[in-house]
């Protein structure tokens, strides 16, 4: 079975690994987008440092909240100027004699769908001027991300099934080529387990060898790819270490698993009589 089956195994595992990497990147991107959803409460200019600190602690204590950042008025002005400069527009604030912006509490949520109670809690405090109504925005973002997430999973699943069929069929061809050997084994009274075992072992070996070859190719390709995707990884909440670990587990598991399954199913055809 070796050469053709191993080559097919390598190509199919590369395909699977490629789609899995894309899927992981997609999920990380979606998570990143969802994290951008935050509840912002603008504060009255009269609010004292004490009051602000109390409210910040109160909000931070809520279970839905990931973290709360206080942005004071000067920081807000600097951010505004920076964003104007980044867009190449003229900074109009230099013509004003005082800072027109309000300080704010920026609340990041554990789950972006749970913004309601946090918004209410902010509104209830008199030092809060107003809370940006993020409901519409959140719903739109979540609709898009959910669709993409489902689509990604479906595509990965379809690719997985295609890979399964192609590998199982390649191994079947190899087993068919040895049908006479299986027949002779049956005629001299070999037990099913005795006949099956060398084929399953060979399937596992093809799977193992194919996975290692695939991982080798991926490792060789990792440098140019990660150079190309350095920015991508810097922005996204992805850990390269855990990604690599999962990928190794996926390729090895799929390779050996499909090798064994393919052989088992193929030999079974000849054993059932």
């Amino acid at each position: 079975m070796s050469l053709a089956a191993t080559a097919t195994m390598v190509l199919m595992l590369l395909l699977l690994a490629g789609f899995w990497i894309i899927q992981t990147g997609l999920l990380a991107g979606l998570q990143f987008t969802e994290q951008k959803v935050e509840v912002v409460g603008y504060l009255q200019t009269t609010a004292t440092t004490n009051q602000i600190a109390t409210l910040q602690a109160e909000i931070a204590a809520m279970p839905e909240v990931a973290n709360v950042t206080y942005v004071d008025r000067d920081t807000a002005l600097q951010r505004f100027r920076a964003s104007m400069a980044a867009q190449g527009r003229e900074d109009l604030t230099q013509y004003l004699d005082s800072n027109p912006l309000y300080g704010s509490l920026e609340v990041k949520l554990v789950d972006p769908t749970n913004f309601g109670r946090v918004g209410d809690a902010l509104r209830a405090d008199p030092i809060v001027r107003n809370v940006i109504n993020i409901e519409d925005l959140v719903e739109r973002v979540l609709t898009v991300t959910n669709v993409l997430r489902t689509a990604g999973t479906v595509v990965l699943l379809i690719v997985g099934i295609i890979v399964l069929f192609i590998i199982v069929n390649t191994i079947r061809l190899a087993v068919v080529a040895r049908a006479e050997e299986i027949e002779i084994m049956r005629l001299v009274g070999a037990s099913d387990a005795f006949i099956r075992w060398p084929f399953v072992f060979e399937g596992a070996m093809v799977g193992l060898f194919g996975s290692l070859l695939t991982l080798g190719i991926l490792a060789a390709a990792a440098d140019p790819i990660s150079g190309f995707m350095a920015d991508f990884f810097r922005v996204l909440p992805l850990q390269f270490g855990s990604l690599t670990r999962d990928l190794i587990a996926l390729v090895l598991g799929a390779g050996v698993g499909l090798g064994v399954l393919g052989s088992w199913l193929s030999v079974r055809t000849y054993l059932i009589r």
């Binding site: 006479e180 050997e181 027949e183 002779i184 084994m185 049956r186 005629l187 001299v188 009274g189 070999a190 037990s191 099913d192 005795f194 009589r273």
Partner: protein, 258 residues
């Protein structure tokens, strides 16, 4: 020649040559009994109809009949490749129809089977091909070596032990197959057209070898079209036609003699 059980003396020669004892085999019990066996294939074809057949230990039986008479189906029933639609196939006291699937390999080890096309593994040597029949049964290496050497000496292939099938003549390949069928010390040897691919002279050699094996006490059943051989040897002849046993006589010829 009678169809009486093989005498004790024969059995002892056999155990000396094959190196094993068959004390557990009661001479009174026939090796094979077919009772009212009918086989209909899923496509509706009736391959065997109400076949009754008893083969005692030590017998030599020719199974004759035109193509499509049911010889191959009968052999498939004996090795439990097929199950009878009705009736019983009892091999060595065990009804094959009621044999659990897991027991089938064990039952097949009681049979040695020889085919027209030899069915040898092309990548293995003569010695390995014969040893294969013992390896699959889980026999230990120390027992395999003497058993294979002994059986190769019996069929006269000691010199060719290290050759692969493609280096052998047809007769030598068939003798390898006979050695393989014999090495695990079966109760019954089934030969399905063993001389079909061989020239007349070599065919006679193969027949002589099967006769010698039979003299050692092994029951032999041989399906053949070779009228000359059957008629010359005057052994028991079972003739099939359209799935029925139309003749079963000791000392018979290939064709009916009225």
């Amino acid at each position: 020649m009678t169809i009486a059980p093989a005498p004790r003396q024969v059995r002892s020669i056999r155990s000396r040559v094959l190196g094993r004892n068959h004390d557990q085999a009661k001479p009174e019990r026939p090796v094979l009994v077919l009772h009212d066996v009918t086989k209909q294939y899923p496509n509706g074809k009736l391959a065997l109809r109400e076949v009754d057949l008893i083969i005692p230990e030590g017998d030599f039986v020719f199974l004759v009949g035109p193509s499509g008479a049911g010889k191959s189906t009968l052999i498939k029933l004996l090795i439990r490749d097929e199950l009878p639609t009705r009736g019983e196939v009892v091999l060595d006291g065990q009804d094959l129809a009621h044999l659990p699937r897991r027991q089938v390999p064990r039952m097949r080890r009681k049979i040695g089977i020889i085919f027209q096309d030899f069915k040898l593994l092309p990548t293995k040597t003569v010695w390995e091909n014969v040893a294969f029949a013992l390896e699959v049964t889980g026999t230990s290496r120390s027992q395999i070596r003497p058993a294979v050497d002994r059986v190769l000496a019996l069929v006269g292939l000691t010199e060719q032990a290290e050759q692969v099938p493609s280096q052998l003549s047809g007769g030598e390949q068939q003798r390898t197959a006979i050695a393989r069928a014999l090495v695990h010390d079966p109760r019954l040897i089934i030969a399905d057209e063993p001389t079909g691919n061989l020239d007349p002279l070599i065919s006679w050699e193969i027949i002589q070898l099967l006769l010698r094996i039979n003299e050692l006490g092994v029951t032999v059943m041989m399906a053949t079209h070779n009228a000359q051989v059957v008629t010359a040897l005057r052994k028991r002849v079972v003739a099939l036609e359209e799935g029925r046993v139309i003749r079963d006589e000791v000392g018979g010829a290939y064709h009916r003699e009225d």
